[in-house]
Amino acid sequence: MQFVVNGLVTGAAYALVALSFSVVFRVGRFFNFTHAAVFTWAGYFGYLCWTILGLSLWAGALLSVCLSAVLGVLLELSVYMPLHRRRASGVVLLLVSLGLYTIMQNTISMLFGDEIKRLSGNTVAEGLSVWGARATRIQLAIVIICVVVFVAFGILLRLSPFGTRLRAVADDPDLAAIQGVQVHRFRLAASALGSGLAAVVSLLMGLDVGITPTVGLNALMMGVVAVIAGGVDSTPGIFLGGILLGLAQHLGVWKIGTQWQDAIAFAVLILFLVLRPQGFFGKPLRKAAV
């Protein structure tokens, strides 16, 4: 039972990362590695606010989320927008983001060191009992926030003008522009939303297990696996992808040991990419252009 609860908690966190990545991915259409850097920075913003400045839980969280959203917007403004304007291909954007990721991760290492930092100052709290298994308050919060965010996002995407525009830009930026969507301004809004959401997950996971300079990359890769398994354009698919990945990892641990968690996740990724790249709910990928 403990495995199932752990799997659900991890899965909920993955699903949230996947959702935040999918927002950025839908409007940019490339694998944005700086999203991982924003995720890491968000955790260290939290460390700065809580441990060094001594702000309260809510104030620190709010400030870190805002700072991360600003960081995301700045990256979009200074780097990705000029490249999008030049119609750079997905591989070019990916490489640029990889370079930026390297810079941002190493800056963190230089400023804070490589060792693990705890975000929660107080001692380990007694876990609550759920279905005969133990879970901490933070872990419960992760699951609850995950469900709330997914429901809210589903409504936002279907019923609000923002959602309609998001889907329009994701489908075809040029056509969206013709219809009067301000694609560039919209990309900024989407990167603020995606980065803010990533910051929320980063802080939650940081409170649960602590942060290191590489948390972002690990989290992003799990998010990418969940997105690809679920289908990029399907919100329920992403949710299911995250939860199933979390469960698969933890049930896998039960059979073969903790150290193979990452290998399991990446094996899932490759299986999906080879056998069903559109995910279980996605539409077929674009064919090679002739």
Binding site: F31, G99, L100, I103, N106, Q259, D262, A263, I270, L273
Partner: protein
């Protein structure tokens, strides 16, 4: 003087890696982030065979190349269906799985402890122990790799690779079995990377998984792109520039961990600047990933 020769040996080892990666990235247009994994595969295979069985260096190198070429078939499989950035993500997955195996398959690779005491090579009675001897051997390896890739790319085989890069569907329409070409190019590239790996293992005489991580792959990619992908001299220029320039940091007298981070930041920044302002690299003709 030994220090200078050491740098030159490293340049030669990295030249083997960049030239072999360029066969894929520059000439065929499939960027792979799994190059360090094949480099590691060669290093581990060779080190294990030589230390466990006591086989000579030549057998170790041969075994490394064979194993890497065989494993590369698994990596080239997704290239059946994946294009561009999706393919990059698939190779990223392979890289992570292989590093996970180096780290966790304790009774074979000794995990993070690494393999110490790898003997220096003896080739037909020539005991290679001094730095100068190593430079000769490394130069021979680099020249061999360069020769293989140069011959391949200036042959009809190379013209088909270029056709795949420009327009794969068109190459297929001309009756070329593009899958076969892709698989062959992958096998050659992986085998050359593995050669570099064996050389590295027997030169440093100690290996552990940290030398073969995704950051190493990114470094090799940066070298290829900064030098100029798909050109005759580009990959060599990249290897020379990115191995020697950061060495200057050594003389500034920074603490070693800060210097390591600064070096990574330098690679990342160069990659970003080149991709944004000069995508064809220092010595290249073909702008990468148009």
């Amino acid at each position: 003087m030994d220090y200078l020769i050491h740098i030159l040996v490293l340049v030669c080892i990295f030249a083997v890696l960049t030239v072999s990666l360029d066969l894929l990235a520059g000439h065929m247009g499939s960027l792979s982030i799994a190059h360090a994994a094949f480099y590691g595969l060669g290093a581990y295979t060779s080190a294990l065979i030589v230390t466990r069985i006591g086989a000579p260096f030549v057998i170790g190198v041969a075994a490394g190349t064979v194993v890497a070429a065989a494993i590369s078939f698994i990596v080239s499989l997704p290239s059946l269906r994946l294009h561009d950035d999706y393919f990059v993500i698939a190779t990223f997955g392979f890289q992570m799985i292989l590093v996970s195996i180096f780290n966790n398959w304790m009774h074979v690779t000794r995990g993070p402890l690494g393999i110490p005491g790898i003997p220096q090579p003896v080739i037909f009675g020539w005991h290679i122990s001094s730095h100068a001897d190593f430079l000769i051997l490394a130069f021979v390896f680099a020249a061999f790799a360069y020769f293989v890739v140069y011959r391949l790319t200036s042959s009809p085989f190379g013209r088909v690779l270029h056709a795949i890069r420009e327009d794969e569907v068109f190459a297929q329409a001309l009756g070329k079995n593009t899958l076969r070409f892709k698989v062959t190019a992958f096998a050659v590239s992986a085998a050359l990377a593995a050669m570099a790996g064996s050389l590295y293992a027997h030169y440093i005489t100690y290996i552990d998984p940290t030398s073969f991580t995704v950051m190493e792959s990114i470094l090799v990619i940066s070298m290829v792109i900064i030098g100029g992908a798909g050109s005759t001299w580009g990959p060599l220029v990249g290897a020379v520039v990115l191995v020697t320039l950061p060495e200057a940091l050594r003389f500034v007298g920074l603490p070693s961990n800060v210097a390591a981070n600064l070096r990574q930041i330098f690679y990342g920044a160069l990659l970003v600047v080149m991709m944004m302002f000069r995508p064809r690299g220092l010595a290249g003709r073909y702008s990468f990933g148009r």
